[in-house]
């Protein structure tokens, strides 16, 4: 399992793109929004938590395409499926590697991008907390989407359609934590819901992903 994680991270570093792509997209979104809605900082700071969360979610979605497709093309998935490593574990590891290369950089960069959207001071901590709690769910759910569509030529669109509805609860509660935090309100309820969703999908989704992948490998 460690070998798979190490390999995926090494590949992400060497192939370039892996680390940069999601982050660059996130940056573009947060830079463009002020141009689009105008420079009133009062309006910006009100929509900042939502925009940051949507940006992070789309940045995550952008890199899901490559999550399993590359391993499918060169036959690695076939060979992994016949290896002693359970497919559930292999997919959990791939989701973890995806989170480290996509979700984690977003979490770390989000406060910097918050400045661009004049996020209220109280919001930074809660933005980071909500993203740190929510992005693992995005990676795990995304792995399920990738496993469902892995055999489909240019399955990116289909995968986005399948995955987006599953992302909605995470987005709602994640953005709600950040918004309430920014407005100095009580965050406990959405925070617990967000943590619950993440814990739930981490526990259940790898089994669904492995089942979907087994069907696709036939």
């Amino acid at each position: 399992m460690k070998a798979l994680l190490r390999r995926d991270l090494l590949l992400a570093m060497r192939a370039g793109g892996g680390f940069g792509l999601g982050l660059a997209f996130f940056l573009i979104v947060t830079v463009l929004v002020p141009f689009g809605v105008g420079p009133q900082s009062e309006l910006l700071s009100r929509i900042a938590p939502g925009i940051l969360w949507i940006g992070a979610l789309l940045a995550c979605l952008l890199s899901l395409d490559r999550l399993l497709a590359l391993d499918w093309e060169d036959g690695t998935l076939d060979l992994l499926a016949t290896s002693p490593l359970p497919l559930e574990a292999a997919l959990s590891i791939k989701a973890l590697a995806h989170w480290i290369t996509t979700g984690l950089p977003l979490v770390l960069a989000a406060p910097v991008f918050g400045v661009l959207l004049s996020l209220p001071d109280a919001g930074y901590v809660w933005l980071v907390i909500s993203l740190a709690l929510g992005t693992p769910a995005l990676s795990v759910i995304g792995t399920f989407g990738a496993a469902l569509t892995v055999g489909v030529k240019r399955g990116g669109l289909l995968m986005s359609l399948l995955v987006l509805p599953l992302y909605v609860p995470t987005l709602i509660f994640g953005a709600e934590v950040a918004r309430r935090g920014a407005e100095g309100m009580q965050t406990t309820t959405p925070l617990l819901m967000l943590a619950g969703i993440t814990a739930g999908v981490i526990a259940i989704m790898p089994f669904a992903s492995a089942a979907a992948l087994r069907v696709n490998l036939r």
């Binding site: 070998a3 590949l11 060497r14 060169d74 060979l79 002693p84």
Partner: protein
């Protein structure tokens, strides 16, 4: 695809699968390797004894030869990659990125992967594609060494490897309703 097929494989024995293109050799190997369930019938060998090698080798272009082998050795809980490197004379290539190898060199690396799995039953699907004469000899040598160590091999190939192996023709076992199944499969894809 195939119907009423049955064979056994003893330790130290190799079996060559023959049959025209599309006769179900790959399907049979994938089924035996556990990638798809048989519609009926029984596979007696455990999945954890079988190492499978297909047309694509599962190599990462951005990793070196040694890194590719080490990864697969780790996945299969093995340590030793030197035997595999020596068996397919990959020593001069060990620090090259797999993406820069020629087709035949990639194939050699893909076959070397079988050695680092440490599994007794090898299932090889057209292993000699894009190998030159010397590499085929290396491959036949590796198979012989594997059989000598009590392993077994099931090889789908059209060329003569010079092995003392039984030949098993899958063509007579083609299922009667094959055409219909094939058609619906294609429609689905």
């Amino acid at each position: 695809m195939l119907d009423g097929l049955s064979f056994g494989l003893a330790p130290g024995q190799a079996l060559i699968l023959r049959g025209p293109n599309g006769s179900g050799k790959t399907t049979l190997l994938r089924t035996l390797a556990g990638l798809q369930p048989p519609l009926s019938g029984e596979i007696i060998a455990g999945e954890d004894q079988i190492a499978y090698a297909a047309h694509s080798d599962g190599l990462k272009a951005m990793l070196t030869v040694a890194e590719n082998l080490t990864f697969w050795a780790d996945v299969f809980g093995q340590r030793d990659i030197e035997t595999a490197i020596a068996a397919f004379s990959l020593e001069p290539l060990r620090d090259r990125l797999a993406g820069t190898l020629s087709a035949g060199q990639k194939r050699r690396l893909g076959l070397a992967r079988m050695l680092v799995t440490g599994r007794p039953i090898w299932m090889l699907d057209e292993p000699t594609v894009s190998l030159d004469v010397d590499a085929v000899a290396l491959f036949a040598g590796a198979i012989r060494a594997h059989l000598g160590a009590g392993g077994a091999a099931l090889i789908a190939t059209h060329i003569d490897l010079g092995l003392d192996a039984e030949v098993f023709d899958v063509a007579p076992f083609r299922a009667a309703h094959d055409a219909r199944v094939g058609a619906s499969d294609e429609a689905f894809l």
